[in-house]
Symmetry: C2
Subunit: 340 residues, 2 copies
C-alpha cells in the first residue's frame, strides 16, 4: 500500500524543521537555495504534493469549517466550539476540530492537512509556541491562496484577517479596579509569561488600573507562570512573603490554585484574601468558594467567529477589508470576593 | 461556483430522512423500490457521489484518525481525546474531531464527510439519538467497506468492531455496595433514561447491589432524567418525599445538582446525605464538598482505543476477530461521603 509522505517525515529525514520544509516547498526566500533544492528534490522523489488550495476552491465547496485550538480540556475553548457549531448548523455547515496541543509544528501540520480540500475556511486560536516563535507563514499562505481564516482569543496583529477578541486589557483593568474600589491595598497579579498575547494584555490592564489609582506596581507582587503544573512554589512564595489582600489571576486554574494554596496556609478566602479569576468555566462555578470571575462569553465569541467566516465564504465579491469584533465581558460576582 | 449537494439537501428536497437517503444510495432492501429510485435519480441529477471508501483506501493512507463524540463541553470526552492524541502523536498520526451533538443525523453526516478520503479509521462514541433509534447502518457500511471503527463508552452490541469500555455495571455495583457497607439503608439512584447504554448498565449495577444485600429496590427511589436542564423538579421531589440517606448518581452533573439542591433544602452533605457520582471530572474535584466518584480513566480509555485502531490499520493481514477491552475503574473518595 502506498503511503503519502508527510511534512513531518520529510523534516525528520532531512533533519530540518517542519517550518523549513513548509517554506521550502513554497519557495520562500527565507530559506537558503541549497536547502530549498534539497527539500524539493526529496518531496518530488516521494511524490509529496503541497496542497493547492486555490485549485480545490475552484472546484467545490465542502461546506465544512475547520477549527484549530490549542487544547481541548479547557472549558473556554469547548464553549467557543459550541458557539461555532450552533451558527454552522444554522447555516448548513459541518465542523471539524483539530488540536495543536500548544505546538507550532502540530498547528502547521493540521492546517496543511485540513487545507487540502477538506474544508472551506479556518477558525483558529494560536498555540503558545506559535506566539513565541512569531512564525505565521502557514496562516499567511492559506489566506494568500484564497482560503479565509478567522482568529479568536489568541490572535496576532501580524496577520491580516478577521478576528474576534475580547478587550483583554479593559476586562483586566475593570477587575483590578473593582478590587481597588473595595479598598484593597495590596493587589497581586498571577499571570502567564508575556509571549501569550492574552496574558500580556491582562497584565497591562492590571498595571494601568494601579497607575490610574496612584498605586505602585511592585515586581514582587507579580507572578508570571510558564507551566501550570509547576506554579505552586511561586504562588506560595507570593502568599507567604508579600501577604497580598487581593489577587487577580488571568485564568481560572491560577485562581483556583491560589485559593487552594491559601486554604492550606490557613488564609481564608474571602475573609483574609479576595480572588478574581478570568474565564467563567465550571471550575469557577463549582469551586469552594465559588470564584468571582471575568466572563469571556465563549459561546458568543464562537458564534461571532462562525458568522464572520460564513459571511466571507458566501460573499459574492472579494472584500479586502478585515474586521475585528470585540466581545463584551462582564464580572460575575461570587464568593471569592467580599459581598459588601 | 459549483457546490457539492449534501445528504441533508437531498433529504430536505425529497422530504425523507437522512437515513433513508443514505440507505437508498446503498440499495438497502429496507427502502422501498420507489423511494430508492427517486433518491438515486435525484442524486444522479445533482452529481452526488456516495463515498467509495474501498477505492480511496487502496490509493493512500492519510495517517489521520477521525473521532466522533456526542458533545465537547464534557470533561470525560475531552480526556478521552487527550488520550487518543497522545498515542496518535507517538505513532505519527493526526487526529480530527467531529461532534454529533447527540444527533443521529449529524453522526451520519460527519461519518459520511470524514470517510470520503480524509481519514484512515474512526474512534467513536454513539449519540443518544443513535442509541434510541438503534440504527447503525452508517457504521456497518463504513466497516464493510474496509475502514476500521473502534467504539468507546457508548457502544452497541449490534455492530461487530473493536470496543473499549468500562464495566459500567460492576463499577456502579461497587459504588452502591460501598454505600451499603457504610450502613446506609435508603440508597437512591439518579440515572438517565434507559436507552442510554451506560445509564442502563449503571442502573442494573445499582439494582444488583441492592438485591445481593437483601435490600428492596423501590421505584420511588429511582429517578430517571431525560434532560439535565429540567432535572431539578424530580430530584427535589426525591429529596423531599423519600428522604434518602445516600444517593448514587450516574454522572457528575447529576451528583453536583443533588448536592446543590440538598444544600438549598438545608440537607447537609455528607452529614445528612452521602453522594457518589460517576466520572472524575473537574466538577467533582472543585465542587463543595468535593465529590466521591467512580473514576472512568478517560485518558487510558482514549489511549487504548487509539492503540486498537492503529494496530488494526497497520496489520499486514485482515483479522476478523474483534476485541473488547475493559478499562478498570476505581472509587475516588472525597468529601461527599463520610470518612469513617
Amino acid at each position: 500500500m502506498k503511503r503519502k509522505v508527510t511534512l513531518k517525515q520529510i523534516a525528520r529525514e532531512l533533519d530540518v524543521s517542519i517550518s523549513t520544509v513548509s517554506k521550502s516547498l513554497r519557495n520562500s526566500p527565507e530559506i537558503s537555495e541549497d536547502t530549498r533544492q534539497k527539500v524539493q528534490a526529496f518531496a518530488k522523489l516521494y511524490n509529496y504534493k503541497p496542497n493547492n488550495i486555490a485549485l480545490s476552491l475552484k472546484n467545490k465547496k465542502t461546506k465544512t469549517i475547520g477549527i484549530i485550538i490549542p487544547e481541548i480540556v479547557h472549558h473556554f475553548f469547548a464553549t467557543v466550539i459550541s458557539g461555532i457549531e450552533q451558527v454552522a448548523n444554522e447555516n448548513g455547515y459541518n465542523v471539524i476540530v483539530c488540536l495543536s496541543d500548544e505546538s507550532f509544528d502540530k498547528e502547521v501540520i493540521n492546517m496543511e492537512m485540513l487545507a487540502t480540500g477538506s474544508i472551506d475556511g479556518f477558525i483558529m486560536s494560536l498555540s503558545k509556541e506559535t506566539q513565541l516563535k512569531k512564525d505565521f507563514h502557514h496562516i499567511v499562505e492559506v489566506i494568500n491562496q484564497g482560503m479565509p481564516v478567522v482568529m479568536f482569543d489568541r490572535i496576532t496583529n501580524d496577520v491580516f484577517c478577521d478576528k474576534v477578541i475580547i478587550d483583554d486589557q479593559m476586562a483586566a483593568y475593570e477587575a483590578v479596579e473593582y478590587l481597588i474600589n473595595k479598598g484593597f491595598k495590596k493587589v497581586a497579579l498571577v499571570t502567564t509569561v508575556d509571549y501569550v498575547s492574552v496574558g500580556k494584555l491582562r497584565t497591562e490592564g492590571y498595571l494601568k488600573a494601579l497607575r490610574d489609582n496612584n498605586m505602585m506596581a511592585e515586581e514582587d507582587m507579580i507572578v508570571k507562570i510558564e507551566d501550570i503544573d509547576n506554579c505552586s512554589v511561586k504562588i506560595e512564595r507570593l502568599l507567604e512573603e508579600q501577604k497580598p489582600d487581593a489577587i487577580f489571576a488571568v485564568n481560572e486554574l491560577f485562581a483556583v490554585t491560589c485559593i487552594k494554596l491559601a486554604a492550606k496556609m490557613g488564609v481564608n478566602v474571602p475573609d483574609d484574601l479576595s480572588v478574581i479569576g478570568f474565564t467563567d468555566g465550571i471550575i469557577s462555578q463549582f469551586s469552594s468558594p465559588a470564584i468571582t470571575t471575568v466572563s469571556q462569553n465563549g459561546i458568543k465569541m464562537g458564534r461571532s467567529a462562525a458568522k464572520m467566516l460564513i459571511d466571507r465564504l458566501e460573499m459574492e465579491e472579494e472584500d479586502e477589508h478585515y474586521r475585528t469584533e470585540v466581545i463584551e465581558t462582564h464580572l460575575v460576582e461570587r464568593e471569592s470576593t467580599p459581598t459588601l
